[in-house]
């Protein structure tokens, strides 16, 4: 029996690939920016520059939420439902 999902997957076999690549690239971008923030905050904490630390912390949290929210769009693994 074939359903809508299956015919979609057959018509666009690259869709999962592209979605996953896009999501992973975005995640890597987020994590890179967060590392940058953390590095800056560590440097500036020494200088008692609290404003910078707060700004980067808020930005970092926003990126973390964005990353979790991105997981919603992870495509389901294509089910191996070929008939024998």
């Amino acid at each position: 029996m074939s359903d809508f999902r299956q015919s979609q997957n057959e018509a666009h076999p690259n869709k999962t690939n592209i979605l996953l690549t896009g999501i992973i690239l975005l995640l890597i971008l987020f994590v890179t920016i967060q590392i940058w923030f953390l590095f800056g905050a560590l440097n500036n904490a020494l200088q008692e520059n609290l404003n910078f630390a707060i700004t980067t912390a808020v930005g970092s949290l926003a990126f973390a939420f964005a990353s979790f929210w991105l997981l919603r769009y992870l495509p389901e693994p294509i089910k191996n439902s070929k008939k024998k």
């Binding site: 029996m1 996953l20 992973i24 995640l27 020494l46 200088q47 609290l50 912390a57 970092s60 949290l61």
Partner: protein, 168 residues
Amino acid sequence: MSKDNREEIPQWKQDFPIQQKEATHVSRREFAKFLTLLSGALAVGNTAIVVKSLAFPEKPLVGEHPICLESEVAEGESFQFEIQGSKTIPYLLINLGEGEWRAFEQKCTHLSCAVKYRHDIGQIECPCHKGYFNPRTGNVIQGPPPRPLPQLEVVIREGQVFVKAQNT
């Protein structure tokens, strides 16, 4: 109609596969989830910095601390001492001569190596990466340190050397 392969294998069996190839395999979905976790950890770390500096602010030095006798440190010499506070910080007392005394934190602002005073060149030197500081102001003359050395004020009374926090 055959059932889906994944649904037939219970979860615990997926976690302990027989084939080594399956055990070391990281799918792209797992990788994406790992990245998300990393992102969360970084955010937590960044928040921790803020919380730490808000909840446990560093206390400035209070009062005068006796260090040593004036006669103990000859001209052009330096003397190491520590002050116990919320943490123990090593300091360097320098006799520049002509009654000029200075006290600096001994930790280099670059990577926390111990700095030493060199009277022959009239500069404070960090031996680790050749950073040089002005022994009067603590400003960076040369090298990788990003900030001047933190300074204490030196007071001499009746032949005894005291230090206290600056501009108090």
